[in-house]
Amino acid sequence: MAAAVFFGCTFIAFGPAAALFLFTISRDPLRVIFLIAGAFFWLVSLLLASLVWFVTVQMSNKESSSQQKALLIFGVVLSVLLQELFRFAYYKLLKKANAGLLAISQEDTMPISVRQLAYVSGLGFGFMSGAFSVVNILSDSVGPGTVGIHGDSQHYFISSAFMTLAIILLHMFWGVVFFEACENQRWWSVGAVVFSHLLVSCLTFVNPQYEGSLIPTYLVLCVMAGWAFSCAGGSLRNLKLCLTCKDKDFLLANHRPR
């Protein structure tokens, strides 16, 4: 049972993201590097947020559990804001780097487009965020134990896995929308991304009432998916062409006859 839970939750949490990585990113070395750099930026943002939280906890009253909970909530909000700040910082860094590379290489086109960078960096953020959220839980699920023996929810593992899946995909969509918004100076879109991130994180405060957190999170996921799809240049027409294998550009790019 332990191995089943472990493998099941791992595949739920990381399956789609791993598939995305395998099929779209692993072949191109430049994308892999930017993915890992994205993960690094997320890590740095988490570090800063933890530092601030740690300092505030040291200064607070450790006995009072309500105060600790309030500090934790503050930590969550701060962490979300810092993550988005670092996403913006990564965007700026990538623009600078791309401009630099373009200047050096004297080529007309950049080796990697901003949209690809948006996707890859979003996925990098997602991977790291998901990994940090769920890896310890997964490693605990391998061992013996009884879930919810003290009255907690029995669905701890599976709900964590689903939440992680949602967060990883959301980070990817947020990345796409965010970069597109920064490119076109649409700051309200940026604000919407930050707001939806805050919304999803704050929804988790109602855990273990999973209906209150998982369902709205997945609704936000669907909305963001549609938004990211249209930001990346997709439309109903594209979708139809792609699904019926009539999209000539795609077929040409993949060397398939039509």
Partner: protein
């Protein structure tokens, strides 16, 4: 422990400066270009030095830069994969085989001071003393190696290397296999083990010191680095290990970049003599960019035994003598095995102490980013560079901060199931 003593000695002497002794691998390299200056001095016993060298010939600039970028990214990935594999092997072993995390008081002779003291100050002092002794041993070995190389004692070096490889491929892998069998309670008989170890070791010796398929050589080098890292994780005391990691990065920086640094002298001597430096103890990823007219004279001789610090990131670029305009470059980035070992020691120790996977992941990402930055610097400066300092610094910073700051935060979040 007596065996560890000799193992350490053997390990420390890993420098394979046996260009003249060890034959090239004809199927992979054709040494046609005397001006190819890919050399990496490998200082086995001393600190790691990453040497990156690039021989440039005439080439149109724009094309050069475009190729630089494309191949640069490819080389970064070509180093990411083996480094990741080595770390994965070490972490998997640490998490499953408890032998490598048990401390039963045995220490190497290079770290004689015990850390079982009563006060924090005493413990710190002991670990610093241990570090000083270890680094001095490494410095002495490196200088010894450079002297041997300067006076062309190739046979001595070659013999030293072969002895080390033997020890590593047979003895350490036998120990490792034994511990894995004990952990999983596998019933095994001596004749089978003898056959397995004999085959493993013999093929390893051949691949590393003579000829063999490139991927098999690379696999053996990764396995050897992992075994060495595991030995370090087991026998180095807690605090000494961290201080040693820090000190060795500093030493690497000095040894490779200072004008009188031993590793730099090694590189320069090898260049003067137009010899490939220390083919052993270096992991090389050949990025063959095949073109029919191009001769790839990348010197890739993979002989590597446990490399103590001697890390070189080396990038050689060979120009072909083709009559045509276009020059295809065969670039291979080389990284010393000492780098692999110390990266894996850092990640392995992060995995061993605490049992928290977040810390391990954070160190892993930090090391990869450090490696990426080092390779970027390599592309800019085009000379031998130390591969340890940036990665180990990032790794240490992230280890301590994740362990002390991020872990309580994430644990609290996980307890309440809050997501950020």
């Amino acid at each position: 422990m007596n065996t560890s003593d000799s193992e350490e000695d053997a390990c420390n002497e890993r420098t394979a400066l046996v260009q003249s002794e060890s034959p090239s691998l004809p199927s992979y390299t054709r040494q046609t270009d005397p001006q190819h200056g890919t050399t990496e001095p490998k200082r086995v016993s001393e600190g790691p030095a990453a040497a990156a060298e690039r021989d440039s010939g005439p080439v149109p600039d724009g094309e050069d830069e475009e190729l630089t970028l494309k191949y640069g990214a490819k080389h970064v990935i070509m180093l990411f994969v083996p480094v990741t594999l080595c770390m994965v092997v070490v972490v998997a072993t640490i998490k499953s085989v408890s032998f490598y995390t048990e401390k039963n008081g045995q220490q190497l002779i290079y770290t004689p001071f015990t850390e079982d003291t009563n006060s924090v100050g005493q413990r710190l002092l002991n670990s610093v003393l241990n570090t000083i002794i270890m680094i001095s041993v490494i410095v002495v070995m490196t200088i010894f190696l450079v002297v041997l190389y300067k006076y062309r004692c190739y046979k001595f070096i070659h013999g030293w290397l072969i002895l080390s490889s033997l020890m590593l491929l047979f003895w350490f892998s036998y120990m490792y296999l034994g511990e894995v069998f004990k952990t999983y309670n596998v019933a095994m008989d001596y004749p089978t083990v003898a056959m397995i170890i004999w085959n493993f070791g013999a093929v390893g010796m051949i691949c590393i010191h003579w000829k063999g398929p490139l991927q098999l050589q690379q696999a053996y080098l990764i396995v050897i680095s992992a075994l060495m890292a595991l030995v370090f994780i087991k026998y180095l005391p807690e605090w000494s290990a961290w201080v040693i990691l820090g000190a060795i990065s500093v030493y690497d920086l000095i040894a490779v970049l200072c004008p009188k640094g031993p590793l730099r002298m090694l590189v320069e001597t090898a260049q003067e003599r137009n010899e490939p430096i220390f083919p052993a103890l270096i992991y090389s990823c050949k990025s063959a960019h095949p073109s029919s007219e191009v001769h790839h004279s990348e010197d890739v001789i993979l002989e590597r035994e446990e490399a103590e610090p001697e890390v070189q990131t080396h990038r050689g670029q060979n120009r072909s003598y083709s009559a045509e305009e276009e020059l295809e470059e065969d670039r291979g980035v080389k990284l010393g095995l000492g780098d692999f070992i110390f990266y894996s020691v850092l990640v392995g120790k992060a995995a061993a102490t605490g049992g928290d996977w977040n810390t391990t992941l954070a160190c892993f990402v930090a090391i990869l980013i450090g490696l990426c930055l080092t390779l970027l610097l390599l592309a800019i400066f085009k000379k031998a560079l130390p591969a340890l300092p940036i990665s180990i610094t990032f790794g240490l910073v992230f280890y301590f901060s994740t362990d002390n700051l991020v872990r309580p935060f994430m644990d609290n979040l996980a307890a309440h199931q809050y997501y950020i």
